[in-house]
Amino acid sequence: MNNYFEVKQIKNCRKFIRNCYTLFKPIDKKLLIQLENYGHLEIQSFSSFSPLAKDSFKLNLEDILEITGVIEGNEFFITIAKTDLELVKRIEKELINWAEN
């Protein structure tokens, strides 16, 4: 744990791990723009079906990385191939950078 997020790792798969983050600041447009370096951004507009629902986003980098999260929410997920774990550090740096600014 640090001043920006809490993280829990889940290991349901032989090839991938999933880091589940609870961010201390809700996800905004600025973070999404920052993360676009990691893949094509897709937004799922759940809020059009219910006023209570929020939208979600997804970014994919080939077969090795998937970043998803809840827009205006605090839930952020990284699913990553066990062979490319160093990428997690880079994304966490991005999160800290975004949270500080």
């Binding site: 349901n12 032989r14 090839k15 799922q44 079906f49 629902a53 929020k54 979600s56």
Partner: protein, 436 residues
């Protein structure tokens, strides 16, 4: 290859809670259920002749579906190449993987699959399969045979597919050989087999109904169903796999599960009489429970759940409603909570369940036991996940170790009472789950 404009997709029919594609009900299930159910069936192979039904069942269904599709008015002028493309594309769309049918003729030929759901799913769940065992892609083998028969207008049962290589055994691709079916080329060479394939029952004895929004929860069932059925869940262009909710998802043929499950039941009955039925029922219900644990558990920890459903949740019981609302978008029929006593009891009404729809249309309706095995395991799984794990409080790993802990829990929930559309001739299934 020329791009054909006629691709098979299907529609979600809200008054049946079912995806129908060229007459076939399609439902969402994940690799955990697919490969576990197959493993359960395969475990009986030392005393039951189970292998042929695993591929014959998909051949029956796929043949029926594509024959119907190619007979539709808009599709009657499709060329052989166009038809091959339709079948390859649908395989990918459903998350079954990638197959190349280019070299097939009406006499057969070789089919290569660089990605295949069962092979990859097996390896992911159980690890590498032993080299001396059969390949695991029985479903795909039957799909290829049935599709080829439909493409060339051959009678059902003309062809047979043998799997030569399998991703589950460490091969880089799965490879299939299609040839003319003869009595002696069926999977178990030492046993005689009759060629007795029959068309799929398609939608079976389906019912129409209306999804209700219960008044005792803030969960909006209708909005959740609307949102989920509009999600673009289809196989990836490169891999043909659907990676969603932390599992490998498929748009699977409802009738495939039913045919292999109920044929297994008949084999048990044939071998052991009525005494064999409870054992078969126990195995099939456990497969449903495993499915619930992994699929529902994956859903509850997914981004989609956190965005769409979690903001509606106010208490633990809303988790039960939330996942029940999700099930109403899986194509499994209507699931409606009749009674929920926190941490004690869940009574679920299932209308137009895909299991009873199939059974009533395709099998002898006299049965000694309730036949909605997936539903019984699934309803128990909901209660176990929510009241016997920490999933509502924190993210958790859903693995074998956690699962073993769960089943040893003294408050483990099971289906204690069932009313069945088949056994009791009732209007709907009702499953009552309580703890030990």
């Amino acid at each position: 290859m020329q791009q054909t404009s006629q691709l098979l997709r299907g529609n979600y029919l809200y008054n049946r809670n079912s995806y129908i594609a060229a007459g076939e009900p399609m439902i969402f299930h994940c690799h955990h259920y697919n490969v576990y159910l197959q493993a359960v069936i395969e475990d009986t192979s030392s005393y039951l002749h189970v292998y042929p039904m695993l591929s014959d069942s998909s051949q029956e269904i796929v043949y029926t579906q594509f024959s119907n599709f190619f007979e539709e008015k808009n599709n009657q002028n499709l060329s052989i190449e166009d038809k091959k493309q339709v079948c390859q594309d649908y395989f990918r769309f459903c998350g079954f993987g990638i197959i190349d049918l280019t070299n097939l003729t009406k006499e057969g030929g070789q089919v290569v699959a660089p990605y295949e759901h069962y092979g990859i799913g097996w390896k992911t769940k159980f690890g590498l399969r032993q080299k001396n065992k059969k390949g695991v892609a029985f479903f795909a083998a039957g799909y290829i045979a049935g599709a080829t028969e439909a493409i060339f207008g051959l009678p059902l049962g003309t062809l047979f597919t043998e799997q030569k290589k399998c991703i589950s055994k460490g091969d880089t691709k799965s490879v299939f050989e299609v040839s003319t079916r003869q009595n002696n080329n069926i999977l178990d060479e030492d046993e005689e087999n009759e060629i007795n394939l029959v068309p799929s029952p398609q939608e079976g004895e389906y019912q129409t109904y209306k999804l209700k929004n219960p008044s005792n929860t803030t969960i909006d069932y209708q909005a959740i169903r609307q949102a989920l059925t509009n999600m673009d869940l289809q196989g990836d262009v490169k891999t043909g796999l659907i990676n969603a909710f932390g599992v490998l998802l498929t748009r699977m043929y409802a009738n495939y599960y039913c045919l292999i499950s109920y044929k297994l039941l008949r084999l048990f009955e044939g071998e052991m009489g009525n005494d064999g039925l409870p054992l078969a029922a126990q195995l099939l219900t456990e497969a449903g429970h495993i499915c619930a644990y992994n699929t529902f558990g994956g859903v509850m920890q997914s981004t989609e759940w956190n965005a769409m459903i979690k903001p509606m949740i106010q208490d633990k019981e809303d988790w039960v409603h939330g996942i029940t609302a999700v099930v109403n978008a899986f194509g499994w029929g209507f699931w409606e909570i009749e009674k929920l006593e926190p941490n004690k009891q869940l009574k679920m009404k299932v209308v137009s369940g895909y299991e009873s729809n199939n059974y009533l249309a395709h099998f002898d309706t006299h049965t000694e036991l309730p036949i909605s095995f997936l539903a019984a395991g699934g309803v128990s799984g909901i209660m176990n996940l929510i009241y016997n794990t920490s999933i509502t409080e924190d993210f958790m790993t859903l693995d074998e170790k956690e699962y073993r802990k769960l089943v040893q829990n003294s408050s483990f929930f099971t289906a204690q009472k069932q009313i069945c559309r088949v056994k009791q001739h009732s209007q709907f299934d009702e499953i009552e789950v309580t703890s030990k």
